[in-house]
Amino acid sequence: MSEPEITPEIVAKHGIKPDEWERLLGILGRMPSFTELGIFSAMWNEHCSYKSSKKWLRTLPTTGPQVICGPGENAGVVDIGDGQAVIFKMESHNHPSYIEPHQGAATGVGGILRDVFTMGARPIAAMNSLSFGVPAHPKTSHLVKGVVEGIGGYGNAFGVPTVGGEVRFHKSYNGNCLVNAFAAGLADADKIFYSVASGVGMPVVYLGAKTGRDGVGGATMASAEFDDTIEEKRPTVQVGDPFTEKRLLEACLELMASGAVISIQDMGAAGLTCSAVEMGDKGGLGIKLQLDDVPQREAHMTAYEMMLSESQERMLMVLKPELEDVARAIFVKWDLDFAIVGETIPEDRFLILHGNEVKADLPLSKLSSSAPEYDRPWIETPAAAPLGVVPEIAPISGLRALLASPNYAQKAWVYEQYDSQVGADTLVAPGLGAGVVRVHGTGKALAFTSDVTPRYVKANPFEGGKQAVAEAYRNLTAVGATPLATTDNLNFGNPEKPEIMGQFVGAIKGIGAAVAALDMPIVSGNVSLYNETDGSGILPTPTIGAVGILASLDDLIAGRPAEGDLAVIIGATKGHLGQSALLAEAFGIEAGDAPHVDLAAEKLAGDFIRANRKAFAACTDLGDGGLALAAFEMAEGAGLGVKIDAAEIGFLFGEDQARYLVALPQSGLAALTAAAKAAGVPLALVGQFGGKTVSLGGDSAALADLSALYRSAFAAAVA
């Protein structure tokens, strides 16, 4: 079949900028074929090449004694002792989810699960961080329902418990929702599989589902801004099949145990192209592919389509040839396709044959190593103007404003659509704070959390970046875990705008400072840029996914306050209301600076919580919504009222960092106070749990009344 002629229009349609086109011609010394242009476009788009972000990503701390493998592989690998490792990553599927919410979100979950099991790990936990436009926006309800159903439909059938996440609403996401999916898996530390190919003449094997035309050009689509033609992009969204993914998981794990795998890579963005190039490049080898042997779902597919298809549930593997029969038998058992589609070759070449024609013949190493890299101009985000006079509000009215907002209302409507218990190891299910999953068959557990406060990042990218990490640190700490490592999913607007690039740079610097200070290095991550519609960008949203370990199940803090327990704040309260949830929800005010994060104070408070965990009936991090919201949530979960003595709005709703709210019996107060004094950690007795009334500085309401609001507001907003 003859291929279209290369014209400037076709080049532009592939997202290749004029300077990049010159670079491409320089590498080839000739015009590319249509298939070759597609391959370059797939490898050089923002999504695959990180060309705008690489310079800054390199500055992030990624090492530590606990890190077995940092960024660069499919997912990060972290030591959890006893010869075991946790493998995790977070990745965005923002653009596809906006275009087709159910399939976009489902395949986002599928992709991140594959990233984890490609490395030999059995997935044990999933989370998702979702950002939508305001509930009143005509698309929001449709997006929320589709995304949640898509995540549930995929994860539930696959069989991974969804144990945490976030859902937020803000007008900046009206035209560009965010769907960030996290997965973590468990493997033996000496049985991790990497994507480095080795050996010449080794068979390249295609595994899993057949290749169709779905998703052709998806990665390029994900690297462009949206405008009102997005509906035309629906055919670039892939369709997920969790049943195939489940079989692929089991077959891959069996295959890996058989010793037949030299290297393996999942086919994600830019499918066959990206996976083959990555394996060859890392191994210093060339790859030859015979596309006639690729299992195909549709007739008459072209080389271009096959190389760029993003059909789901597929893997590419370099196989030990002597074990081909063993490997094939495993895939027959699971009724999956298994086809030898090529081989490794000694020269630096990416050779694509189809029919009797050479469709592409490219220098393989140049595809990724010579990808463009930009030092985009950026301007530092100006300091936020100081917060003016805060309008007056009665404490209970402030609390009601939070509880009535889908941002702070109970999210059961969402997480009850996810299977949070499959695997029968879930110790703390979703709801508040971190999820906790037992390491199967051991007395250890892992804690998972996902956090960011985009309002803070916009006002102050550096402090906001720090805060996202600090909040993750606190959420892990609040269940008794020791934070281990972090994955980051950096969602920003158009990096070609210096002010957006400034947000990105500021946030990276803040994240870097925080993960260094709190010893939770970045081991994997993903960057999603161009989150803009018609030129208007999202709130900068660097989602932090973090994992912590509980060396013993006795370390878990997962209780509830009892009648009469005291409410105590660990950490110092100054009453910072800039960019607070209260101002945003009660008054629509997003002003002032973000709260600053004292990383030393975070570390001190976190260590104090862990050292004294036996003293607490319950513990939670103090984040947005401050003391008032945290105390209400803790009390409501126990079916109790709570009385907080302070009446001052800053004290009740301020969002100062490095703080926890703990509940403890009166008998424990003296010892805890002494311990805090010795450790140099501020401690303040602020109230008491009990009864059926919520009272904030004398202003009060019936628990049942507030509880009804808290439990119904989310469904009311999105239904």
Partner: protein, 222 residues
Amino acid sequence: MKAAVVTFPGSNCDRDLAVAFERAGFEVARVWHKDSALPAGTDVVGVPGGFSFGDYLRCGAIAAQSPIAAAVQAHAARGGYVLGICNGFQVLTEMRLLPGALMRNAGLTFNCKTVELKVATTASAFTQAYARGQSLMIPIAHHDGNYTIDAEGLQRLRGEDRIAFTYGQNPNGSMDDIAGVLSENRRVLGMMPHPERANDPLLGGNDGAGLFAGLMGGMALA
């Protein structure tokens, strides 16, 4: 006592069910759906939760045609015990080992939460460790748990005391709040809730343990 847990390609609670049987003292064998026989001496077959063949349409229908299905049906016909949980319950209705069908939840969404069950009969090995009317907290996690049966069938289930569990607050629209039913010989139980997830105090509940312990004891007597 020997339990055999069947794995279909999309089963995902097979390990959890095997662990629950083991905790109750069973010797557990894992059986692949393409096998055509159960291990010799199998006392109880466990059909686990999950999405046996993706189950995009009519859950359990394809699983009921797997090679292992004939062996499970023969085992039941010989008076052997069978426990189907969630997708396993759907599979057992498709195998015609239990009457009725599981339709899409009335609320149309997947629903995962811990719910209150009432023990409706103690006249079975599965439920004999409980008291009639006893309240249990057991998780559910399903999209298609809306139990439906014709009027005559429902009459028979009631008359023959074959409703094993009912929901305290009906989460899915099931007729008569039915959460689990027994076969005529009371040796096949299908239920939507997951007792294997409430089988360890650390996981927030142990109310399901009685089912496995009762089964162990009841079978020993039988």
